[in-house]
Amino acid sequence: MDNLISVKGLHKHFGNLVAVDGIDLEVQKGEVLGFLGPNGAGKSTTMKMITGFLAPTAGSVDVCQHDVANDPIAAKTCIGYLPEGAPAYGEMTPASFLNFVADVRGLVGRGKADAIGKAVEKINLESVMHQPIETLSKGFKRRVGLAQAILHDPQVLILDEPTDGLDPNQKHEVRTLIKEMAPEKAIVISTHILEEVDAVCSRAVIIAKGRLLFSGTPAEFAAHSHYHNAVTISVASDIAASIEKTLAVLPDVFNVESTVLDGGLIRVTAIPKDNKPIVGDIQNCIRQHDWKIDELFVEPGRLDEVFRTMTTEARSIGEETRT
Protein backbone atom coordinates (compact mmCIF):
# COMPACT_ATOMS: atom_id res chain seq x y z
CA MET A 1 0.00 0.00 0.00
CA ASP A 2 1.30 3.39 -0.96
CA ASN A 3 -1.27 5.25 1.08
CA LEU A 4 0.98 7.25 3.36
CA ILE A 5 -1.56 9.60 4.92
CA SER A 6 -5.09 8.55 5.71
CA VAL A 7 -7.45 10.94 7.49
CA LYS A 8 -10.93 9.79 8.47
CA GLY A 9 -13.79 11.91 9.77
CA LEU A 10 -11.52 14.50 11.31
CA HIS A 11 -13.15 17.06 13.63
CA LYS A 12 -11.62 19.71 15.86
CA HIS A 13 -13.56 21.95 18.18
CA PHE A 14 -12.08 24.78 20.23
CA GLY A 15 -14.84 25.40 22.76
CA ASN A 16 -17.80 26.47 20.63
CA LEU A 17 -15.68 27.12 17.59
CA VAL A 18 -15.67 24.34 15.01
CA ALA A 19 -12.29 24.60 13.29
CA VAL A 20 -12.39 21.33 11.36
CA ASP A 21 -15.75 19.80 10.57
CA GLY A 22 -15.39 16.32 9.11
CA ILE A 23 -12.44 15.99 6.76
CA ASP A 24 -11.52 12.78 4.93
CA LEU A 25 -8.28 12.63 2.98
CA GLU A 26 -5.86 10.16 1.53
CA VAL A 27 -2.45 11.00 0.20
CA GLN A 28 -0.32 8.48 -1.65
CA LYS A 29 3.35 8.21 -2.36
CA GLY A 30 4.25 10.42 -5.29
CA GLU A 31 1.47 12.92 -4.68
CA VAL A 32 1.83 16.58 -3.87
CA LEU A 33 -1.41 17.68 -2.30
CA GLY A 34 -2.18 21.40 -2.07
CA PHE A 35 -4.38 22.71 0.73
CA LEU A 36 -6.19 25.82 -0.45
CA GLY A 37 -8.55 27.94 1.52
CA PRO A 38 -9.13 31.34 3.05
CA ASN A 39 -7.44 32.29 6.32
CA GLY A 40 -9.04 30.52 9.26
CA ALA A 41 -10.47 27.78 7.05
CA GLY A 42 -8.89 24.98 9.08
CA LYS A 43 -5.85 24.21 6.90
CA SER A 44 -3.28 24.68 9.65
CA THR A 45 -5.44 22.97 12.25
CA THR A 46 -5.76 19.94 9.97
CA MET A 47 -1.99 19.88 9.52
CA LYS A 48 -1.45 20.15 13.27
CA MET A 49 -3.63 17.07 13.75
CA ILE A 50 -1.90 15.08 10.99
CA THR A 51 1.46 15.80 12.61
CA GLY A 52 0.20 14.88 16.07
CA PHE A 53 0.55 18.32 17.66
CA LEU A 54 -3.16 18.62 18.36
CA ALA A 55 -5.46 15.75 19.29
CA PRO A 56 -8.61 15.58 17.14
CA THR A 57 -12.00 15.99 18.82
CA ALA A 58 -13.15 13.07 16.66
CA GLY A 59 -11.78 11.06 13.79
CA SER A 60 -8.45 9.40 13.15
CA VAL A 61 -5.19 10.03 11.35
CA ASP A 62 -2.84 7.32 10.09
CA VAL A 63 0.61 8.22 8.84
CA CYS A 64 2.71 5.42 7.28
CA GLN A 65 0.20 2.95 8.77
CA HIS A 66 0.83 4.29 12.29
CA ASP A 67 -2.11 5.71 14.19
CA VAL A 68 -1.00 9.20 15.25
CA ALA A 69 -3.04 9.06 18.47
CA ASN A 70 -1.91 5.61 19.63
CA ASP A 71 1.62 5.46 18.27
CA PRO A 72 2.72 9.10 18.06
CA ILE A 73 6.47 8.51 18.16
CA ALA A 74 6.41 6.03 15.25
CA ALA A 75 4.19 8.36 13.21
CA LYS A 76 6.30 11.43 13.99
CA THR A 77 9.45 9.56 13.00
CA CYS A 78 8.28 9.35 9.38
CA ILE A 79 6.96 12.93 9.17
CA GLY A 80 8.91 16.06 8.31
CA TYR A 81 6.94 19.14 9.31
CA LEU A 82 7.33 22.83 8.67
CA PRO A 83 4.90 24.57 11.05
CA GLU A 84 3.21 27.82 10.13
CA GLY A 85 5.68 30.71 10.42
CA ALA A 86 8.69 28.34 10.46
CA PRO A 87 9.41 28.57 14.21
CA ALA A 88 13.00 27.90 15.31
CA TYR A 89 15.09 28.62 18.39
CA GLY A 90 16.30 32.16 17.75
CA GLU A 91 19.46 32.01 19.83
CA MET A 92 20.74 28.93 17.98
CA THR A 93 22.63 28.98 14.70
CA PRO A 94 21.30 26.90 11.79
CA ALA A 95 24.26 24.56 12.38
CA SER A 96 23.43 23.91 16.04
CA PHE A 97 19.69 23.85 15.36
CA LEU A 98 19.99 21.21 12.62
CA ASN A 99 22.38 19.28 14.82
CA PHE A 100 19.79 19.29 17.60
CA VAL A 101 16.99 18.11 15.31
CA ALA A 102 19.26 15.39 13.90
CA ASP A 103 20.03 14.21 17.45
CA VAL A 104 16.36 14.05 18.38
CA ARG A 105 15.66 12.19 15.12
CA GLY A 106 18.21 9.60 16.20
CA LEU A 107 20.78 10.33 13.51
CA VAL A 108 24.38 9.66 14.57
CA GLY A 109 27.92 9.80 13.25
CA ARG A 110 28.40 9.78 9.49
CA GLY A 111 24.69 9.44 8.80
CA LYS A 112 24.05 12.61 10.77
CA ALA A 113 26.80 14.59 9.06
CA ASP A 114 25.59 13.41 5.64
CA ALA A 115 21.95 14.23 6.38
CA ILE A 116 22.80 17.75 7.57
CA GLY A 117 25.18 18.29 4.63
CA LYS A 118 22.57 17.20 2.10
CA ALA A 119 19.78 19.30 3.57
CA VAL A 120 22.02 22.37 3.78
CA GLU A 121 23.09 21.91 0.17
CA LYS A 122 19.55 21.41 -1.12
CA ILE A 123 18.25 24.47 0.71
CA ASN A 124 21.32 26.66 0.11
CA LEU A 125 22.02 27.49 3.73
CA GLU A 126 25.84 27.36 3.70
CA SER A 127 26.30 31.12 3.90
CA VAL A 128 24.39 31.56 7.17
CA MET A 129 25.23 28.35 9.04
CA HIS A 130 26.96 30.15 11.90
CA GLN A 131 24.74 33.18 12.44
CA PRO A 132 22.05 33.16 15.15
CA ILE A 133 18.70 32.33 13.54
CA GLU A 134 17.06 35.41 15.09
CA THR A 135 19.36 37.64 13.02
CA LEU A 136 18.45 35.99 9.70
CA SER A 137 16.07 37.39 7.08
CA LYS A 138 12.55 36.01 6.80
CA GLY A 139 13.54 34.02 3.72
CA PHE A 140 16.46 32.35 5.46
CA LYS A 141 14.37 31.59 8.54
CA ARG A 142 11.84 29.83 6.34
CA ARG A 143 14.64 27.88 4.69
CA VAL A 144 16.04 26.79 8.06
CA GLY A 145 12.56 25.43 8.81
CA LEU A 146 12.52 23.59 5.50
CA ALA A 147 15.98 22.13 6.08
CA GLN A 148 14.84 20.86 9.47
CA ALA A 149 11.77 19.24 7.87
CA ILE A 150 13.64 17.34 5.15
CA LEU A 151 16.65 16.49 7.32
CA HIS A 152 15.80 12.83 7.95
CA ASP A 153 14.51 12.24 4.40
CA PRO A 154 10.98 11.53 5.68
CA GLN A 155 8.35 9.61 3.74
CA VAL A 156 5.75 12.24 4.56
CA LEU A 157 6.33 15.97 4.32
CA ILE A 158 3.83 18.47 5.71
CA LEU A 159 4.68 22.05 4.80
CA ASP A 160 2.53 24.88 6.08
CA GLU A 161 3.02 27.78 3.66
CA PRO A 162 6.54 26.80 2.58
CA THR A 163 7.04 29.75 0.23
CA ASP A 164 5.55 32.50 2.40
CA GLY A 165 8.00 35.38 2.71
CA LEU A 166 10.35 34.15 0.00
CA ASP A 167 11.34 36.22 -3.01
CA PRO A 168 10.41 34.95 -6.51
CA ASN A 169 13.77 33.22 -7.01
CA GLN A 170 13.58 31.47 -3.66
CA LYS A 171 9.97 30.49 -4.37
CA HIS A 172 11.10 28.93 -7.60
CA GLU A 173 13.90 27.04 -5.81
CA VAL A 174 11.54 25.67 -3.17
CA ARG A 175 9.01 24.59 -5.79
CA THR A 176 11.74 22.84 -7.75
CA LEU A 177 12.89 21.12 -4.58
CA ILE A 178 9.35 19.94 -3.80
CA LYS A 179 8.95 18.57 -7.31
CA GLU A 180 12.29 16.77 -7.09
CA MET A 181 11.33 15.09 -3.82
CA ALA A 182 7.78 14.30 -4.91
CA PRO A 183 8.22 10.83 -6.50
CA GLU A 184 9.57 9.32 -3.27
CA LYS A 185 7.25 10.98 -0.76
CA ALA A 186 3.74 12.03 0.08
CA ILE A 187 3.79 15.81 0.37
CA VAL A 188 1.11 18.14 1.68
CA ILE A 189 1.53 21.89 1.31
CA SER A 190 -0.80 24.71 2.22
CA THR A 191 -0.71 27.92 0.32
CA HIS A 192 -2.51 31.12 -0.52
CA ILE A 193 -0.74 31.38 -3.83
CA LEU A 194 -2.93 29.83 -6.49
CA GLU A 195 -0.21 29.68 -9.13
CA GLU A 196 1.68 27.39 -6.76
CA VAL A 197 -1.06 24.79 -7.13
CA ASP A 198 -0.45 24.71 -10.86
CA ALA A 199 3.30 24.79 -10.39
CA VAL A 200 3.81 21.95 -7.91
CA CYS A 201 0.64 20.14 -6.90
CA SER A 202 -0.62 16.94 -8.43
CA ARG A 203 -3.88 17.38 -6.56
CA ALA A 204 -5.60 20.24 -4.79
CA VAL A 205 -8.23 20.37 -2.08
CA ILE A 206 -10.19 23.44 -1.09
CA ILE A 207 -11.01 23.79 2.57
CA ALA A 208 -13.39 26.40 3.88
CA LYS A 209 -15.27 26.50 7.17
CA GLY A 210 -13.46 23.33 8.19
CA ARG A 211 -14.93 21.31 5.32
CA LEU A 212 -13.52 19.86 2.14
CA LEU A 213 -15.23 21.57 -0.78
CA PHE A 214 -13.28 20.20 -3.68
CA SER A 215 -10.64 17.61 -4.43
CA GLY A 216 -9.07 17.09 -7.83
CA THR A 217 -6.16 17.86 -10.13
CA PRO A 218 -5.28 21.50 -10.80
CA ALA A 219 -6.75 21.07 -14.31
CA GLU A 220 -10.04 19.79 -12.89
CA PHE A 221 -10.00 22.67 -10.48
CA ALA A 222 -9.50 25.17 -13.27
CA ALA A 223 -12.28 23.50 -15.28
CA HIS A 224 -14.77 24.85 -12.73
CA SER A 225 -14.00 28.33 -13.99
CA HIS A 226 -16.34 30.25 -16.29
CA TYR A 227 -13.21 30.94 -18.26
CA HIS A 228 -12.41 27.29 -18.87
CA ASN A 229 -12.08 26.89 -22.66
CA ALA A 230 -12.55 30.63 -23.17
CA VAL A 231 -10.60 31.99 -26.15
CA THR A 232 -8.63 35.18 -25.97
CA ILE A 233 -7.32 37.05 -29.01
CA SER A 234 -5.43 40.32 -29.25
CA VAL A 235 -6.22 42.61 -32.17
CA ALA A 236 -5.70 46.20 -33.29
CA SER A 237 -8.17 48.54 -31.61
CA ASP A 238 -9.82 49.73 -34.85
CA ILE A 239 -11.27 46.32 -35.67
CA ALA A 240 -11.96 45.22 -32.08
CA ALA A 241 -15.55 46.44 -31.99
CA SER A 242 -16.63 44.51 -35.08
CA ILE A 243 -14.84 41.39 -33.82
CA GLU A 244 -16.64 41.61 -30.52
CA LYS A 245 -19.98 41.83 -32.31
CA THR A 246 -19.18 38.90 -34.58
CA LEU A 247 -18.01 36.66 -31.75
CA ALA A 248 -20.95 37.53 -29.50
CA VAL A 249 -23.44 36.01 -31.92
CA LEU A 250 -21.65 32.67 -32.31
CA PRO A 251 -24.00 29.93 -31.02
CA ASP A 252 -21.72 28.58 -28.30
CA VAL A 253 -20.45 31.93 -27.03
CA PHE A 254 -21.99 33.12 -23.79
CA ASN A 255 -20.33 36.50 -23.41
CA VAL A 256 -17.50 38.62 -24.80
CA GLU A 257 -15.18 40.75 -22.66
CA SER A 258 -12.45 43.10 -23.74
CA THR A 259 -9.50 44.81 -22.09
CA VAL A 260 -7.24 47.48 -23.55
CA LEU A 261 -3.55 46.61 -23.80
CA ASP A 262 -0.57 48.88 -24.39
CA GLY A 263 0.38 49.71 -27.96
CA GLY A 264 -3.11 50.16 -29.43
CA LEU A 265 -4.10 46.55 -28.95
CA ILE A 266 -7.30 45.21 -27.49
CA ARG A 267 -7.61 41.79 -25.91
CA VAL A 268 -10.97 40.18 -26.62
CA THR A 269 -12.06 37.16 -24.59
CA ALA A 270 -14.96 34.99 -25.71
CA ILE A 271 -16.46 33.01 -22.84
CA PRO A 272 -18.24 29.81 -23.93
CA LYS A 273 -21.60 28.49 -22.78
CA ASP A 274 -21.09 25.56 -20.35
CA ASN A 275 -17.34 25.50 -20.98
CA LYS A 276 -17.83 24.11 -24.53
CA PRO A 277 -14.71 24.21 -26.70
CA ILE A 278 -15.10 27.15 -29.07
CA VAL A 279 -11.59 27.59 -30.40
CA GLY A 280 -12.50 25.87 -33.74
CA ASP A 281 -15.46 28.20 -34.38
CA ILE A 282 -13.34 31.22 -33.64
CA GLN A 283 -10.52 30.10 -35.90
CA ASN A 284 -13.07 29.69 -38.69
CA CYS A 285 -14.30 33.22 -38.00
CA ILE A 286 -10.79 34.59 -38.17
CA ARG A 287 -10.17 32.87 -41.51
CA GLN A 288 -13.51 33.99 -42.98
CA HIS A 289 -13.07 37.63 -42.07
CA ASP A 290 -9.31 37.61 -42.57
CA TRP A 291 -8.65 39.36 -39.24
CA LYS A 292 -5.06 40.13 -38.42
CA ILE A 293 -4.47 38.91 -34.86
CA ASP A 294 -1.44 39.26 -32.60
CA GLU A 295 -2.10 36.31 -30.27
CA LEU A 296 -4.65 33.61 -29.67
CA PHE A 297 -4.91 31.27 -26.73
CA VAL A 298 -7.37 28.98 -25.02
CA GLU A 299 -7.75 29.62 -21.32
CA PRO A 300 -7.48 26.61 -18.99
CA GLY A 301 -9.59 28.50 -16.44
CA ARG A 302 -8.89 31.11 -13.80
CA LEU A 303 -8.01 29.64 -10.42
CA ASP A 304 -8.65 32.81 -8.45
CA GLU A 305 -12.17 33.00 -9.83
CA VAL A 306 -12.95 29.37 -8.90
CA PHE A 307 -11.40 29.88 -5.48
CA ARG A 308 -13.50 32.98 -4.84
CA THR A 309 -16.70 31.37 -6.04
CA MET A 310 -16.23 28.20 -4.02
CA THR A 311 -15.13 29.82 -0.78
CA THR A 312 -17.72 32.60 -0.80
CA GLU A 313 -20.47 30.05 -1.48
CA ALA A 314 -19.24 28.14 1.56
CA ARG A 315 -19.42 31.29 3.61
CA SER A 316 -23.02 32.01 2.65
CA ILE A 317 -23.99 28.37 3.29
CA GLY A 318 -22.33 28.60 6.69
CA GLU A 319 -24.21 31.77 7.51
CA GLU A 320 -27.54 30.29 6.45
CA THR A 321 -27.14 27.24 8.66
CA ARG A 322 -26.24 29.43 11.60
CA THR A 323 -29.35 31.65 11.36
Binding site: K48, K76, P83, P87, Y89, S96, F100, V101, V104, Q148
Partner: protein
Protein backbone atom coordinates in the same frame (compact mmCIF):
# COMPACT_ATOMS: atom_id res chain seq x y z
CA UNK B 1 22.06 9.64 23.45
CA UNK B 2 18.68 9.53 25.13
CA UNK B 3 16.23 12.16 24.04
CA UNK B 4 15.95 13.61 27.53
CA UNK B 5 19.69 14.24 27.46
CA UNK B 6 19.46 15.87 24.02
CA UNK B 7 16.83 18.28 25.34
CA UNK B 8 18.92 18.90 28.47
CA UNK B 9 21.96 19.77 26.36
CA UNK B 10 20.04 22.13 24.10
CA UNK B 11 18.40 23.93 27.01
CA UNK B 12 21.61 24.29 28.93
CA UNK B 13 23.31 25.75 25.85
CA UNK B 14 20.34 28.08 25.43
CA UNK B 15 21.06 29.58 28.88
CA UNK B 16 24.64 30.29 27.98
CA UNK B 17 23.76 31.56 24.48
CA UNK B 18 22.18 34.66 26.02
CA UNK B 19 23.44 37.00 28.75
CA UNK B 20 20.83 35.54 31.14
CA UNK B 21 23.24 32.89 32.40
CA UNK B 22 26.06 35.30 33.14
CA UNK B 23 23.83 37.93 34.70
CA UNK B 24 22.23 35.28 36.88
CA UNK B 25 25.52 33.80 38.04
CA UNK B 26 27.05 37.19 38.82
CA UNK B 27 23.99 38.38 40.75
CA UNK B 28 23.74 35.06 42.58
CA UNK B 29 27.38 35.16 43.65
CA UNK B 30 27.19 38.82 44.65
CA UNK B 31 24.08 38.29 46.75
CA UNK B 32 25.39 35.14 48.44
CA UNK B 33 28.51 37.15 49.30
CA UNK B 34 26.55 40.04 50.75
CA UNK B 35 24.26 37.76 52.75
CA UNK B 36 27.05 35.54 54.03
CA UNK B 37 29.59 38.14 55.07
CA UNK B 38 27.57 41.24 55.90
CA UNK B 39 24.18 40.06 57.06
CA UNK B 40 25.22 36.58 58.15
CA UNK B 41 28.42 37.90 59.75
CA UNK B 42 30.47 34.83 58.89
CA UNK B 43 33.70 36.31 60.28
CA UNK B 44 32.23 37.90 63.37
CA UNK B 45 30.55 34.68 64.49
CA UNK B 46 33.93 33.01 64.87
CA UNK B 47 32.50 29.60 64.04
CA UNK B 48 33.86 27.23 61.45
CA UNK B 49 30.63 26.43 59.55
CA UNK B 50 28.70 27.74 56.57
CA UNK B 51 25.35 28.20 58.30
CA UNK B 52 25.29 31.96 57.51
CA UNK B 53 25.93 31.08 53.86
CA UNK B 54 23.12 28.54 53.48
CA UNK B 55 20.60 30.24 55.76
CA UNK B 56 19.66 32.80 53.11
CA UNK B 57 19.33 30.42 50.16
CA UNK B 58 15.55 29.96 50.44
CA UNK B 59 15.10 33.74 50.15
CA UNK B 60 17.60 34.05 47.32
CA UNK B 61 16.02 31.19 45.38
CA UNK B 62 12.57 32.61 45.83
CA UNK B 63 13.75 35.65 43.87
CA UNK B 64 16.28 34.19 41.45
CA UNK B 65 14.92 30.74 40.52
CA UNK B 66 11.77 32.14 38.86
CA UNK B 67 14.12 34.11 36.61
CA UNK B 68 15.63 30.81 35.47
CA UNK B 69 12.39 28.89 35.12
CA UNK B 70 10.17 31.58 33.59
CA UNK B 71 11.39 31.03 30.04
CA UNK B 72 11.25 27.23 30.06
CA UNK B 73 7.80 26.87 28.47
CA UNK B 74 6.49 30.43 28.06
CA UNK B 75 9.13 31.13 25.46
CA UNK B 76 8.39 27.93 23.54
CA UNK B 77 4.70 28.72 23.44
CA UNK B 78 5.18 32.33 22.45
CA UNK B 79 7.72 31.63 19.71
CA UNK B 80 5.75 28.66 18.35
CA UNK B 81 8.71 26.33 18.83
CA UNK B 82 6.52 24.19 21.08
CA UNK B 83 4.81 22.97 17.91
CA UNK B 84 8.16 22.08 16.44
CA UNK B 85 9.30 20.30 19.60
CA UNK B 86 6.06 18.37 20.02
CA UNK B 87 6.06 17.13 16.42
CA UNK B 88 9.56 15.72 16.74
CA UNK B 89 9.64 12.07 17.81
CA UNK B 90 9.89 12.89 21.50
CA UNK B 91 7.41 12.43 24.30
CA UNK B 92 6.14 15.31 26.39
CA UNK B 93 7.43 13.64 29.57
CA UNK B 94 10.95 13.46 28.11
CA UNK B 95 10.78 17.12 27.12
CA UNK B 96 9.50 18.24 30.55
CA UNK B 97 12.18 16.27 32.41
CA UNK B 98 14.92 17.35 30.01
CA UNK B 99 14.09 21.02 30.40
CA UNK B 100 13.77 20.76 34.17
CA UNK B 101 17.10 18.97 34.46
CA UNK B 102 18.76 21.62 32.30
CA UNK B 103 17.56 24.37 34.62
CA UNK B 104 18.62 22.30 37.61
CA UNK B 105 22.09 21.69 36.16
CA UNK B 106 22.37 25.40 35.57
CA UNK B 107 21.61 26.22 39.22
CA UNK B 108 24.03 23.48 40.25
CA UNK B 109 26.73 25.22 38.21
CA UNK B 110 25.92 28.54 39.90
CA UNK B 111 26.00 26.83 43.28
CA UNK B 112 29.34 25.18 42.57
CA UNK B 113 30.80 28.57 41.75
CA UNK B 114 30.34 29.51 45.41
CA UNK B 115 33.32 27.24 46.19
CA UNK B 116 35.52 30.19 47.34
CA UNK B 117 33.28 30.42 50.42
CA UNK B 118 34.03 26.79 51.19
CA UNK B 119 37.77 27.33 50.63
CA UNK B 120 37.69 30.40 52.88
CA UNK B 121 36.08 28.58 55.78
CA UNK B 122 38.50 25.65 55.44
CA UNK B 123 41.41 28.08 55.39
CA UNK B 124 40.19 29.95 58.43
CA UNK B 125 39.17 27.01 60.55
CA UNK B 126 38.42 23.34 60.64
CA UNK B 127 34.73 22.92 59.67
CA UNK B 128 32.82 19.65 59.50
CA UNK B 129 32.83 19.18 55.73
CA UNK B 130 30.11 16.52 55.80
CA UNK B 131 27.75 19.11 57.26
CA UNK B 132 28.76 21.50 54.49
CA UNK B 133 28.14 18.77 51.90
CA UNK B 134 24.70 18.18 53.41
CA UNK B 135 24.12 21.93 53.13
CA UNK B 136 24.92 21.90 49.43
CA UNK B 137 22.66 18.87 48.93
CA UNK B 138 19.81 20.60 50.76
CA UNK B 139 20.34 23.77 48.78
CA UNK B 140 20.22 21.84 45.52
CA UNK B 141 17.01 20.04 46.54
CA UNK B 142 15.47 23.38 47.50
CA UNK B 143 16.44 24.85 44.13
CA UNK B 144 14.89 21.80 42.42
CA UNK B 145 11.62 22.35 44.27
CA UNK B 146 11.48 26.02 43.27
CA UNK B 147 12.39 25.12 39.66
CA UNK B 148 9.64 22.50 39.37
CA UNK B 149 7.10 25.07 40.59
CA UNK B 150 8.51 27.67 38.19
CA UNK B 151 8.50 25.26 35.26
CA UNK B 152 4.85 24.40 35.89
CA UNK B 153 3.84 28.07 36.11
CA UNK B 154 5.80 28.80 32.95
CA UNK B 155 3.72 26.19 31.13
CA UNK B 156 0.55 28.06 32.04
CA UNK B 157 1.32 31.38 30.37
CA UNK B 158 2.98 32.76 27.26
CA UNK B 159 4.06 35.79 29.25
CA UNK B 160 7.40 35.42 31.01
CA UNK B 161 6.80 38.34 33.39
CA UNK B 162 3.58 36.76 34.63
CA UNK B 163 5.41 33.44 34.98
CA UNK B 164 8.11 35.16 37.04
CA UNK B 165 5.77 36.99 39.39
CA UNK B 166 3.48 34.03 40.07
CA UNK B 167 6.40 31.63 40.63
CA UNK B 168 7.91 34.16 43.03
CA UNK B 169 4.69 34.38 45.03
CA UNK B 170 4.29 30.60 45.22
CA UNK B 171 7.91 30.06 46.32
CA UNK B 172 7.40 32.81 48.88
CA UNK B 173 4.31 31.04 50.21
CA UNK B 174 6.20 27.74 50.45
CA UNK B 175 8.99 29.50 52.35
CA UNK B 176 6.58 31.09 54.73
CA UNK B 177 4.17 28.22 55.23
CA UNK B 178 5.73 27.38 58.60
CA UNK B 179 5.41 31.01 59.77
CA UNK B 180 2.50 32.56 61.69
CA UNK B 181 1.83 34.92 58.75
CA UNK B 182 0.53 31.98 56.73
CA UNK B 183 -0.58 29.66 59.51
CA UNK B 184 -2.75 32.31 61.22
CA UNK B 185 -4.83 32.57 58.07
CA UNK B 186 -5.83 28.94 58.55
CA UNK B 187 -5.63 28.27 62.27
CA UNK B 188 -8.77 30.32 63.06
CA UNK B 189 -11.08 28.14 60.99
CA UNK B 190 -9.30 25.05 59.70
CA UNK B 191 -8.86 21.89 61.78
CA UNK B 192 -5.45 21.46 63.38
CA UNK B 193 -4.63 18.57 61.03
CA UNK B 194 -4.82 20.87 58.01
CA UNK B 195 -2.72 23.52 59.71
CA UNK B 196 -0.13 20.87 60.43
CA UNK B 197 -0.13 19.73 56.82
CA UNK B 198 0.37 23.31 55.64
CA UNK B 199 3.20 23.93 58.05
CA UNK B 200 4.80 20.65 56.96
CA UNK B 201 5.06 22.09 53.43
CA UNK B 202 7.46 24.73 54.66
CA UNK B 203 10.66 24.82 52.64
CA UNK B 204 12.44 26.36 55.61
CA UNK B 205 11.67 23.54 58.05
CA UNK B 206 12.86 20.85 55.66
CA UNK B 207 15.86 22.85 54.52
CA UNK B 208 17.00 23.75 58.04
CA UNK B 209 16.98 20.17 59.25
CA UNK B 210 19.28 19.21 56.36
CA UNK B 211 21.51 22.21 57.15
CA UNK B 212 22.20 20.81 60.58
CA UNK B 213 23.84 17.88 58.85
CA UNK B 214 20.91 15.57 59.49
CA UNK B 215 20.01 14.20 56.07
CA UNK B 216 16.65 12.70 56.91
CA UNK B 217 15.09 10.51 54.25
CA UNK B 218 11.76 12.26 54.87
CA UNK B 219 13.20 15.62 53.81
CA UNK B 220 14.57 14.09 50.64
CA UNK B 221 11.21 12.43 49.95
CA UNK B 222 9.49 15.77 50.56
CA UNK B 223 11.52 17.60 47.93
CA UNK B 224 11.50 14.61 45.56
CA UNK B 225 7.73 14.25 45.63
CA UNK B 226 7.27 18.01 45.38
CA UNK B 227 9.37 18.01 42.19
CA UNK B 228 7.54 14.97 40.79
CA UNK B 229 4.15 16.51 41.54
CA UNK B 230 4.88 19.83 39.84
CA UNK B 231 6.51 18.19 36.83
CA UNK B 232 3.45 16.00 36.42
CA UNK B 233 1.27 19.12 36.62
CA UNK B 234 3.62 20.65 34.06
CA UNK B 235 2.91 17.81 31.61
CA UNK B 236 -0.84 18.22 32.10
CA UNK B 237 -0.61 21.99 31.68
CA UNK B 238 1.19 21.67 28.33
CA UNK B 239 -1.30 19.06 27.14
CA UNK B 240 -4.18 21.34 27.99
CA UNK B 241 -2.68 24.58 26.73
CA UNK B 242 -0.67 23.66 23.67
CA UNK B 243 -3.44 24.39 21.22
CA UNK B 244 -3.95 27.96 22.39
Amino acid sequence: MSRTLIILKRELNAYFATPVAYVFIVIFLLLTGVFTFHIGELYERNQADLEPFFRFHPWLYMLLIPAISMRLWSEERKAGTLELLMTLPISLVEAVIGKFLAAWCFTAIALMLTFPVWITINYLGDPDNTVILAGYLGSLLLAGGCLAIGSFISALTKNQVIAFVISFVICFAFNLSGFPLVLDMFSSWAPQAIVDVISSFSFLTHFESILKGVVDIRDIIFFGSLIAFFLYANVLAIEAKKGS
